[in-house]
Amino acid sequence: MKARPTEASFLLLLSSIVAFSLPYQFGWDLFQPDQTVTFVGTFVGIFVFHFIGIIYGASCLDHFLNTLSWACLHSIYISLPLSFAHQFSSEAYYNIVHNFFRPTTHVERSVSFPIIGATIGSWIGALPIPLDWDRPWQQWPISCVIGCVVGHSCGVLIAIIASRYKSQGMHL
């Protein structure tokens, strides 16, 4: 199955949903940084994730568009919030990585948990691909995309719940 325009438009839709959900996730006061950084970060992220996809076993030439759309999705889910929230500040990146599993602030939580969720979801999504069940959803990016979306949603949920739970009496 080749990536078709419908899939591309689906991805565009997804990306816009994510983009518009960001302010709700982070709060409107944070929605002020330089937009170009966010876009450049996402754009670069696409190539990085395409490369990662190839490393993990996607073919270089066959299914190029499938890999690219998977990379787009990951970039939207991972690079976009990262570059949006942290603006290429190495200090902030260090905080993120160092506190990856122990985020302390609301922003860190709402960046880390969905990212971790999306990564793990995509990793698990790759597991059923080799099986010979001949199901349409075993086609290369589909199961990963499903895993990624589900993982991301779980991450968002956990982040929200954790923030509600922990921010009682704590200032953002």
């Binding site: 490393i55 076993g57 990146y93 260090y94 990585v97 990793w123 790759a126 080799p130 010979d132």
Partner: protein, 967 residues
């Protein structure tokens, strides 16, 4: 000294345990049957008495100009229609079931029913019982050779799928019968030498329901009319494909069976009176449309035969239909059709067509065909008033039985001469019984008894005695060839499991700095518990009548006793396990957990045949995951070095590891001789490698001048050989250079092994001296392969080191596990797979003009396990550099190495164990022949190769004896 010997002894003991476990398991699983090259011929009778009996029964056989030899033929021609996955209940007709209430696959072949009803004397329907595995390829083999399926049919030729054994098809063709074939192209791969006219169609696309069948239908009738054939085979696949694609009871099945019915109608109206029509399934199918296993639905297919000849006199016109219908209607009898094993087709059809029975046949003739009709046969067998013609028919049947039994006994005798697997007494007894029968039969035919009743009784006795002998023989063969020995398999698994536990225990002990490493428990304690466990095993054995041989008994109880003692000595406590997981440093925890989780996932995945087929991709995925994790955790160093460029620099290292992992997975090396680009690249790599190695000073070891010279000359010799070998006048160089390398490398290796340099120096020199040999064995791609292995491990090491924080820590567990995964990955990247056919057989001819089995085998083994060798060496160097970072804490090298090497063994041991368990569980699974069993064999070989490598490395790094002596 004591301790290092303890470690070496421990690995020896482990190896012995592995060998014992693998041997015990294999003795129960790898059922072996040798394919005998002998063929039945017309001139040689199966028994010396055969032709005497023949001449007394058919005195004028030759005079009639009959070309049949063992037995006078009844049919000149036969049409064999194989309908794949034709289950018995598709054929069986129930006229009392309403058309609308039936399933899609019931009552859909009315033409067979009509023939059975209208011409009961010339048609037969049987339940046709197949041996598992019920797969088309295996069934075709069984249906034509008459043999039983086993896992390893050792034949003279590995590469070809052609059937080497004597079979029905080759008998037809060698007795001047023309064979026309159409349908499933599996037949072509098996019998292409014997088929005269063929219309093969691709059989692999299960979703394609019609191509094969339509192709047959458009050719079948025109070919039948042509009359240039004696045997016409048509193999329909549509029914099977409908089952696979939908299920057995699907609307498409109705259409398919209707199409088949139409074909059957056409064929039955086209055949002439000297033709026999056989319609049969090669196997059945479950309700979901699958097959391969041994359930009743899968093994039970149908055999329907029809011929236009009228039998001599038929006393029961169409009585069958009446009795059958009544009994069906009153549900008194479930079904009145007899069961016939599939192999029985072979002797029956061969004798009916007048050709010898294939040499290796184990089937028994179906007496109905010789006694004229089924009903008649039943009547005859219980007759109290036999007529002359009844006696005559029984005599003919007995003669056919005699030929059959004599041929089977001849086969068993020849086989046991070769393999000694049958008990001598059993064979002698059978042979005696058979000879008695033969002589009685000869006597009766030469001087016939005038009293029909008495003669009839005597012949009946012979008849049942022959059948009795055949039952005994098939029981014997079934035990030898078809029955897995589950006890041995379970015990083998147990022994491997014990070995695994013991390795894990030691790894944990090493990583937690426990003092109880390689401590052998007290001899007396071990012996006592061995005796106790042996006693328990003996009680189990005698209570439940379990078959256990004495060697198995001893090995199992001994190894189990060891574990009990070990457990008593140091049961890994909870704290030691947790300290093992986070012993190395804070940031290894995740990676240790992740590698254990991914290894477990990988092992669990081995139960699925698709994961086994995709293993190279799975391994790459796992390596990339671990490398990715390391990469992520180096990020946390960013702050410490925030001002420098080193983190970004490191990232390039990560990228190289990633890229190499991707690059080297899957068969990247297309091994084609004479590829000049590759050759030039390789030559350049070798030359630069030479320069590098001559300047090599990494380990502060002086590589002696002799080593350098031998390396340089050998490497340049290889280059010369490659460049000059295309020239026809310099062919001798291809023979000379390999031998120069073999001799110099082995001499040098021997010198180095017994030299008294430091352990790491010894290994380094050994590696360098043998490098040209490795390159030559690997071929043009060799330098590139070695380069990639070194780069991959080097950058992986760099990654590790930048990531490690503590100084005096052991080489981390996850790193050695990842290197082990790389071994498997590079094994695949060399272009190997779990199949004999992917071995690079060309290596066997290096320096040889014709095949020398010993040298060829050694070379192929070296080439196949080159990645294991290279990566174990890399691991040694990695551990050396790792431990030499810290000068204060200097364990001897072997002690540092034990953890990583045992980890390698543990990984391979777990793979072997898990595969054994899955093979045990799936021993009747469809894929066991194609996927699980090769995987099982290769995993075990990997384990043993790794054991050998580890022992070799430990011997190489042994502490210096001279130093010890001076102490």
């Amino acid at each position: 000294m004591q301790k290092s010997h303890g470690a070496l002894l421990y690995v020896f003991w482990l190896t012995l345990l592995h060998i014992a476990g693998i041997y015990i398991f294999s003795s129960g699983f790898l059922l072996t049957r040798y394919e005998l090259p002998q063929r039945s011929t017309c001139d040689i009778a199966p028994s010396p008495l055969s032709f005497q009996i023949r001449d007394s029964i058919f005195p004028d056989l030759k005079a009639e100009g009959d070309d049949s030899c063992w037995f006078p033929k009844r049919f000149n021609k036969s049409v064999i229609m194989v309908i794949d996955a034709l289950r018995f209940d598709y054929v069986e007709m129930d006229p009392f079931v309403d058309e609308n209430s039936t399933r899609y696959n019931q009552n859909k072949l009315p033409s067979i029913y009509h023939i059975l009803r209208d011409r009961p004397s010339s048609s037969h329907l049987f339940r046709f019982i197949a041996d598992p595995p019920t797969v088309t390829m295996q069934r075709l083999k069984g249906m034509t050779t008459g043999g039983m399926p086993t896992f390893i049919d050792v034949s003279s030729n590995f590469a070809s799928t052609k059937i080497q054994e004597d079979n029905m098809i080759s008998q037809f063709s060698s007795n001047n019968k023309n064979i026309t074939f159409m349908g499933d192209d599996t037949w072509m791969s098996l019998y292409s030498d014997h088929i005269n006219v063929s219309f093969p169609f691709d059989s692999f696309n299960v979703y394609d329901l019609h191509t094969v069948d339509n192709g047959i239908i458009s050719n079948l009738i025109p070919q039948m009319v042509k009359n240039d054939w004696n045997v016409l085979i048509a193999h329909f696949l549509g029914v099977d494909h409908v089952g696979h694609r939908f299920q057995s009871n699907a609307p498409a099945m109705k259409e398919k069976l209707a199409q088949m019915d139409e074909v059957i109608q056409q064929v039955t109206s086209t055949i002439d009176s000297s033709t026999m029509l056989l319609i049969m399934g090669d196997h059945g199918a479950t309700d979901s449309g699958d097959h391969g296993g041994s359930s009743q639905q899968e093994v039970e297919s149908a055999l329907f035969t029809y011929s236009r000849t009228q039998s001599m006199n038929n006393p029961f016109p169409s009585s069958k239909d009446v009795t059958h219908a009544i009994s069906r209607h009153n549900s008194i009898v479930e079904s009145s059709y007899r069961s016939v094993p599939q192999v029985d087709l072979v002797p029956t059809l061969c004798l009916l067509m007048g050709v010898p029975i294939p040499f290796g046949n184990l089937g028994l003739i179906v007496p109905e065909y010789f006694l004229e009709s089924s009903e008649h046969a039943q009547y005859l067998m219980n007759s109290v008033n036999p007529t002359e013609s009844d006696v005559q028919r029984l005599i003919i049947t007995n003669y056919a039985l005699h030929l059959n039994i004599a041929q089977v006994i001849r086969y068993i005798e020849t086989y046991s001469k070769m393999s000694k697997s049958f008990s001598h007494e059993a064979i002698t007894k059978m042979k005696r019984d058979a000879t008695q029968n033969d002589q009685l039969l000869l006597h009766l035919t030469q001087s016939p008894d005038v009293d029909y009743v008495r003669a009839y009784q005597q012949h009946r006795k012979i008849f049942s005695s022959y059948r009795q002998i055949h039952t005994e023989i098939s029981t014997l063969c079934r035990e030898l060839w078809v029955t897995f020995d589950t006890n041995s398999m379970l015990m083998g698994c147990a022994v491997l499991f014990i070995a695994f536990i013991s390795v894990i225990q030691n790894i944990v002990a090493i990583h937690t700095h426990s003092s109880k490493v390689y401590n052998q428990p007290d001899v007396y304690a071990r012996l006592t518990s061995a005796v106790i466990i042996g006693g328990i095993l003996w009680i189990i054995k005698s209570t439940y009548h379990v078959q256990i041989t004495w060697p198995q008994h001893v090995v199992v109880s001994y190894s189990m006793s060891y574990v009990f003692c070990m457990l008593e000595f140091h049961w890994p406590s909870r704290s030691s396990v947790s300290s093992f997981i986070n012993n190395v440093s804070e940031n290894s925890v995740t990676k240790n957990v992740v590698i254990i989780v991914s290894l477990t996932l990988h092992l669990v995945g081995l139960c699925s045949n698709s994961y086994i087929e995709m293993e190279k991709h799975v391994i790459r995925f796992l390596i990339a995951s671990v490398a990715g994790l390391i990469c992520l955790s180096t990020l946390s160093d960013v702050r410490a070095q925030m001002d420098s460029w080193s983190p970004i620099y490191n990232w390039f290292g990560h990228c190289i590891v990633f890229a190499l992992t991707r690059l080297t997975s899957g068969g990247v090396y297309d091994l084609q001789e004479g590829n000049w680009t590759v050759m030039m690249m390789s030559v350049i790599t070798i030359i630069s490698g030479c320069v590098y190695i001559v300047r090599l000073d990494v380990t502060k070891e002086n590589i002696s001048f002799v080593d350098q010279i031998s390396f340089l000359t050998n490497a340049s010799l290889v280059i010369f050989m490659w460049i000059l070998s295309p020239l026809p006048s310099l062919q001798w160089i291809k023979l000379a250079v390999p031998w120069i390398l073999y001799v110099t490398c082995s001499l040098q290796s021997a010198r180095i092994i017994f030299s008294s340099s430091t352990p790491i120096g010894r290994i380094l020199r050994f590696t360098i001296v043998n490098l040209p040999l490795c390159v030559m064995i690997l071929g043009f791609w060799g330098p590139l392969h070695i380069l990639l292995v070194s780069l991959q491990t080097f950058f992986f090491y760099v990654q590790l080191q930048t990531n490690s924080s503590g100084r005096s820590e052991r080489f981390p567990f996850f790193a050695s596990a990842t290197v082990t995964l790389m071994m498997i990955s590079f094994y695949f990247s060399q272009g190997h797979d779990y199949q004999l056919s992917t071995f690079h057989w060309r290596v066997a001819f290096l320096g040889l003009n014709q095949l020398n089995l010993v040298i060829g085998a050694i070379l192929v083994v070296f080439e196949t396990f080159m990645s294991h060798y290279l990566l174990v060496l890399s691991l040694v160097f990695m551990v050396y550099f790792w431990s030499s970072r810290d000068y204060k804490h200097s364990n001897p090298l072997w002690e540092e190495l034990m953890g990583p090497l045992l980890t390698c063994i543990a990984v391979f041991n777990s793979r072997s164990l898990v595969t054994s368990i899955f093979v045990f569980g799936a021993r009747r699974h469809l894929m066991v022949w194609r996927v699980f069993a090769p995987k099982y064999i290769f995993d075990n070989i990997f384990l043993l190769v790794l054991d050998a490598l580890v022992i070799f490395i430990l011997l190489m790094v042994r502490p210096e004896f001279r130093k010890l002596r001076t102490k």
